[in-house]
């Protein structure tokens, strides 16, 4: 069997496990419920629009997805080691690297599913709370003239910004899951794997150098002024630059790509070389 055929078969096996188990369903319910709750709970300020509701709800959903995927990644190998299934599956005629690729692919697919679920709920919430059209400003009538409506931003442009942010968020979610996977390859026990994964993740997040356009950032995109994006990095380093910058998209993707690629490299290096005792 060729390498791709082996990986495809293992992706099928991993998919069977995910679909047969409860964890993804639980994660989906949590993400959908939290996204909806955030939208419902959001108190819209005067200058906010329906896009703000969507962005706030989405950021909450993605936060839940991020935690779920970190746990899913951190338990991908360590969980199988702890419950003893790794010693059942590994003796079959596959390379350990095949398993890493398959698990990483299925984690990425789960990230996509969770993002789409959060996005669907957030968009529905936005649509229900005033409509996701153009961002406009009413100009009062004065000096005998008529009042008018000024279009600040086109609905299409707003949707484009949201899509860009969601794309970067997806990359960040995948990178988070793969970071967990890398940690999972190092430990036999669940507790050390989970605690180390959280420690690493929170450390990188709080340093402000990881996931430049991740869920943290999304909560600020449209929070007070439409079509603006603030990154924590820019806040800290460049002071408040309150304009949407296209390079944020590239930077977010780059950061996620570095973390993701590094995580896969560590997974391959560790998992293909270590003895498995559990």
């Amino acid at each position: 069997m060729s390498g791709p055929a082996r990986v495809l078969r293992l992706i099928g096996v991993e998919t069977l496990k995910v679909l047969g188990g409860k964890s993804l369903r639980t994660g989906l319910v949590a993400v959908v419920a939290l996204t909806a709750f955030a939208a419902w709970n959001h108190e819209t300020a005067a200058e906010e629009t329906a896009w703000t509701v969507t962005a706030t709800a989405l950021s909450t959903g993605l936060w839940a997805a991020e935690i779920f995927l970190l746990v899913a990644g951190a338990t991908a190998i360590a969980g199988e080691t702890a419950q003893g299934t790794l010693k059942m599956i590994l003796p079959h005629a596959y390379r350990r690297g095949d398993w890493i690729v398959a698990k990483a692919t299925v984690l990425a697919a789960q990230a996509l599913v969770l993002l789409l679920a959060a996005l669907a709920v957030a968009l529905a919430a936005g649509a229900l709370s005033g409509g996701l059209g153009d961002v406009t400003r009413a100009i009062d009538a004065s000096f005998g003239g008529e009042g008018s409506v000024e279009r600040l931003h086109a609905g299409g442009a707003m949707a484009g910004h949201l899509a860009s942010s969601a794309t970067v968020a997806l990359a960040a979610l995948v990178a988070t899951a793969w970071l967990g996977l890398a940690v999972s390859c190092v430990f036999d026990g669940l507790v050390p794997a989970l605690s180390t994964a959280f420690l690493l993740f929170l450390g990188l997040k709080s340093a402000g150098t990881l996931f430049g356009a991740g869920p943290d950032v999304l909560s600020k995109i449209y929070a007070s002024y439409p079509a603006e994006m603030l990154s924590r990095l820019e806040k800290l380093g460049l002071a408040l630059n309150e304009r949407w910058k296209d390079e944020l998209f590239g930077r977010g993707l780059r950061l996620a790509a570095w973390v993701g690629a590094g995580s896969i490299a560590v997974s391959m290096l560790v998992f293909t070389r270590r003895d498995l005792q559990a």
Partner: protein, 305 residues
């Protein structure tokens, strides 16, 4: 020996300062049922983990169907199925779902899953979550996954663990049937020496990381004579003569007139001579062989029973 399925040469494994395996050779022929026994900590599970590809040897080689496991794992492990220690499954999935996962890994089809679920008598529980299975049920499911597809070599570590006497009997029958009808080679590790003696044609005894005995069970036990049963004319007189001439043989008389004497094959000429000299020629003589358990204990603890 027929075409070897598993060959181990000079296998060593070191965990820090501990030398778990000290270098041994072992060959398992195609179509055989090989018993791999040893006391706790002898290195059996380490050996099985190396064969299963879970642990790397420090030195030495393992060949499956003549292919070096380290150099070409994909080719070597094709047809290899294992059950290492306690069988483990995905607890949230049903027995059938679990077996389907292992079928995909082995390239087996759904018909094989169905056949094996019936064969290990788990049809009634196939849609229940494995988390609710008893140890015996999980053991049956473990054996079923090891037989999926077309295995050449099945490595089972304590396969009777958790099974009741009826379950053990069925499992022995299943192993014999798969061996006889599908030509599957088995490599069994067990502490149940009675099972090993009933099932296996060859055994290897591992002790402190070394293989201290290997061969056909009959051949090994034939060299392990612990005494003799013999018949003579006038047994009481013969017994008295033997007790005088060879007190270390601790001769005693059975109700049916058979004399029992302890000792190995070196004692036999002296036994004959003592009885002949006293005018009691031996009419019948049978060697008493050690049981596998006694033989095993003698090798591993130095106490022949």
């Amino acid at each position: 020996m027929s075409d070897p399925v598993l060959e181990v040469r000079g296998l060593t494994k070191r965990y820090g300062a501990v030398e778990a395996l000290k270098g041994f050779d072992l060959t398992v022929g195609r179509g055989s049922i090989y018993g791999f026994i040893g006391p706790n900590g002898a290195g059996k599970t380490t050996t099985i983990r190396i064969v299963a590809g879970l642990v790397r040897p420090t030195s030495g080689e393992v060949r499956l169907h003549g292919v070096d496991l380290r150099r070409n794992r994909l080719a070597a492990a094709r047809g290899l199925r294992t059950l290492v220690e306690v069988p483990a499954f995905y607890p949230g999935l049903s027995g059938r779902q679990n077996l389907t996962i292992f079928a995909r890994l082995s390239g087996a089809d759904d018909a094989d899953v169905k056949r094996l679920l019936a064969r290990v008598r788990l049809e009634h529980a196939q849609d229940r979550r494995v988390g609710g299975y008893s140890l015996g049920m999980r053991q049956r499911l473990g054996i079923a996954q090891a037989l999926l597809g077309r295995p050449d070599l099945v490595v089972l570590d304590e396969p009777m663990n958790g099974l009741d006497p009826a379950g053990m009997h069925e499992m022995r029958e299943l192993i014999r049937e798969e061996n006889r009808e599908r030509g599957v080679t088995f490599f069994l590790s067990s502490h149940l020496l009675d099972d090993i003696q009933r099932l296996c044609d060859r055994i290897g005894i591992l002790h402190k990381g070394r293989l201290v005995a290997e061969g056909r069970i009959d051949d090994l036990l034939s060299s392990a004579v612990t005494g003799f049963r013999l018949r003579c004319e006038r047994p009481p007189d013969a017994l008295a003569a033997l007790a005088r001439a060879l007190p270390e043989a601790k001769a005693r008389l059975d109700g049916d007139g058979t004399i029992h004497a302890d000792g190995d094959t070196a004692v036999l000429p002296r036994l004959h001579h003592a009885l002949l000299a006293a005018g009691h020629p031996v009419v019948e003589l049978y060697p008493v062989r050690a049981s596998l358990e006694a033989y095993f204990l003698d090798l591993t603890e130095g106490v022949m029973g």
